[in-house]
Point group: C2
Chain length 580, copies 2
Amino acid sequence: MEQEKINFKRTFPASKRIFKKGEGNDSDIFVPFREIELSDTQLEQRSFQNEPVVVYDTAGPYHDDSYEVDINHGLPKVRDAWIEAREDVEHYEGRRIQSIDNGFSKEGHKNYVAHPFEYQPRRGSKDTPVTQMYYAKQGIITKEMKFVAIREQVEPEFVREEIARGRAIIPNNINHPESEPMIIGKNFSVKINANIGNSIVSSSIEAEIEKLVWATHWGADTIMDLSTGKNIHTTREYLLRNSPVPVGTVPIYQALEKVNGVAEDLTWEAYRDTLIEQAEQGVDYFTIHAGLRLHYIPLTVDRLTGIVSRGGSIIAQWCLAHHEESFLYTHFDEICEILSQYDVAISLGDGLRPGSIYDANDESQFAELKTLGELTDIAWKHNVQVMIEGPGHIPMHKIKENQDLADFYCKEAPFYTLGPLVTDIAPAYDHITSAIGAAQIASHGTAMLCYVTPKEHLGLPNKDDVRDGVVTYKIAAHAADLSKGLPGATERDDAISKARFEFRWIDQFNLALDPDRAREFHDETLPAESAKIAHFCSMCGPKFCSMRLSHDIRDSYKEQLEGMKEKAEEFREGGNRIYH
Amino acid sequence: MEQEKINFKRTFPASKRIFKKGEGNDSDIFVPFREIELSDTQLEQRSFQNEPVVVYDTAGPYHDDSYEVDINHGLPKVRDAWIEAREDVEHYEGRRIQSIDNGFSKEGHKNYVAHPFEYQPRRGSKDTPVTQMYYAKQGIITKEMKFVAIREQVEPEFVREEIARGRAIIPNNINHPESEPMIIGKNFSVKINANIGNSIVSSSIEAEIEKLVWATHWGADTIMDLSTGKNIHTTREYLLRNSPVPVGTVPIYQALEKVNGVAEDLTWEAYRDTLIEQAEQGVDYFTIHAGLRLHYIPLTVDRLTGIVSRGGSIIAQWCLAHHEESFLYTHFDEICEILSQYDVAISLGDGLRPGSIYDANDESQFAELKTLGELTDIAWKHNVQVMIEGPGHIPMHKIKENQDLADFYCKEAPFYTLGPLVTDIAPAYDHITSAIGAAQIASHGTAMLCYVTPKEHLGLPNKDDVRDGVVTYKIAAHAADLSKGLPGATERDDAISKARFEFRWIDQFNLALDPDRAREFHDETLPAESAKIAHFCSMCGPKFCSMRLSHDIRDSYKEQLEGMKEKAEEFREGGNRIYH
């Protein structure tokens, strides 16, 4: 593909990509962070240096000054050597790509787009799985585990334990060596996912890559490619080769395309073929709605909004047409066997998640969740990494029950929720209705949050919507990290608050999740450069600036305050008695 | 003032203002609501009517088709007759308006703006207070209480009990008869406040009225006039005469203007004069930072962000300069006596609220809160209605403690919080960081939420910011109403979800908190009018529309599903045994 003049590179002001290197034998581990440089604190006579703030970074090489983007070549394969060194994989011919994979029933269609990436896929070459869970259970701390330990500021052995226990996953298919390992689990920082993908109103492949880079620039930890149009195989290939974060898909969407959109015509063979196709490409996790059992469907009949999961409604239709359990359920063992040869993680889909406040926490929802727990056991038996998808639309007082039941039925496998939206009455603001729920459920233990954009329920998100959605979800995730007391979680908050109190406006902008918008909003009322060192802002003006007054108080009454403080301490030490 | 061509009237699509009338002797009570008309549900052969949805409305006559706005005349005085009928007030000459009230030290300044409203203010004429709390304690159910009972769908006696108990307030100064009574208390729907007011970068008086009308259009339950520039007396007069909702102020701001911005020069006399000035105009509640005691100030010295309340920092500076307790604290009894003659409610300010996550829930914050509890007792002794202001910046795991301590120290007087923001790292998105905290604290019992706009910490909100702020806070408040299980709270959610599931797009827009934006977002991808009756949207397209599939399932497999459901019920009734 000819690369158009899209500039994929993104930067944040005063920021550079830095690496923390592994030690000793692990000097081939380079964990990326973003370092934000700060200005000095200026006091009347003196100035103090402020240490730069180092933050988690998801954007991969696109945040590297020196990196030259070539989407036809793809990103560096940072995990290649680690995978090969384990000597448990083989390269093989792989499944032949057919026109139907791209949605064309005949060969040689003029709209068919090929991709330039040539390689032989890998798969496990021995009787044992090649999954991080398998290694963890064997007591092996992989390079990937060491990578995330540095990224999360925890011990590598802790990472291994959590993965062995099934309480965390590192989704990284051995055929996606471009990805920088990241971990999803309740004892780590909360992650967010951004959905992208072309729909019928299809965008170009380049535009999809741009969305991917844009989403990870703002902080998306994984992306899901939900494409359903033409050339989805090629689109996915481009996304994987250019993605520094794990990529998830819902394989039933492509399988349905292969049978011309007729749910009843789906077969295990068509689905299995799609799983292998995508596993060979390097998809890191699959959403699989295997918990939607035939006898749960009648439980949805009295719902206000029926079945609102796309995958769920496809499976329900198939089950009713055949009057039998879905092939996802009946072939679940076989699915796990396949996935364990590539280390594709399973995201157990909640096909019966509620689509409205009215339907929240109903019988069908929790019946399916219980089945997801049974399937978790099966997946773990095969050493396949698992997470559990959750709702959806839930009023606040019913949120905790979702996390508690997921933990109980699914033994703390990472919970991955869509919101939940805490009210239905605000279409066009559903990034907010859902961030309220997302922050809460994450504080109870949800490990990853699927973002919702302002366009949810209304239309396709554009770039601005993706930015709003990702930043809003970074807020929810970070708020949960604070509430969980994760190591170092308050560092950025403290730095920005100090900058705010010291009227270091530029630092305040640069430390923000969205520096550009913060600066732009400030400059709307006070555009002059001099205002960026002013000891007040347009909100209250100089006379009423509480922070200026607060500084004045400290300066003017320093001695008095120190005296009062001393007296208060003496008083306290004396047992708070006024008369001795 | 010559009325410019600002159109103050606002409408929502398919909506009209309706009234629920009191019965018998109360036929002079007309409680406004907004009725949203819905289209019919169209099934293949039949159609069903959908009842209109009736929602709480705060916009007053501006939502009335027939109302003609005249800002120089003001709104109808709906409470006039009720106040007079109690025969406990007198009209008197009132305080003479001086140039200094409008920020001009000399008489006859060319920029001085007068207002056209001529009236004698009212005050209590007997030894007894004229407050709703006093009446409630006497066992009297006032017209105002009956009004809010209809508005909240509860019994009038319950309203009286809650007010007598101090757990709820109806802020309505007898000199603001234009206001439609509303109640603030944990056992009623959660309310929101919008701050308006000119700053140095002053806007015109008309622009302030427009902001007021705009904020109440979107759902603000009260507004606070935080003006600090010139002509603030006149601005406030215009706002009060044209406001259908209670108006709050922070009198210390104006008092400070009267002493040329020098905090040390403030006196009890200047402050007292300001209280009377504003009480005569009709301000419904005053924020008074009387709980900030001298010996709490040294507790703030080690804070990351000091004192961030404007009123708090003014008082702190005064206390240190004079090295004594503030006149707000020492004259609190006298303040209550004055206020009880006008029924001005007190909003006890939290001058030591934290300005950052780092400072949350610290010793100084809770020391002041305890004092607010003592002041609550004093106010109640005077039968003055009280609410308690709360923070600010609080991480999620420390939110509940704020509500619990406020309830404990202040005996469940209504809690009125600013957010709280749950993280500091997202300036330009602080309507969201704070709505996450606001929804949570409201679910624990906070009665009113002060909105935060996207411009918080950065600049002055424009009209779009006010809209974003109010709608975001309506979401937080409504989410809390749902979680508290208030009567009728889910009705709008259920109606919009039903409309969504039935592809009644127009109804979905019209039931939204922001119908215009919902429609605009939808139309960005599918602008054609035909798309508004389409059984899919641009998000998934027709083939992947789960809701369309869900309908297909119900239609195609109706008999099968009914059979399955019947069997499931038989099975359940048979005690869930498979073999009998």
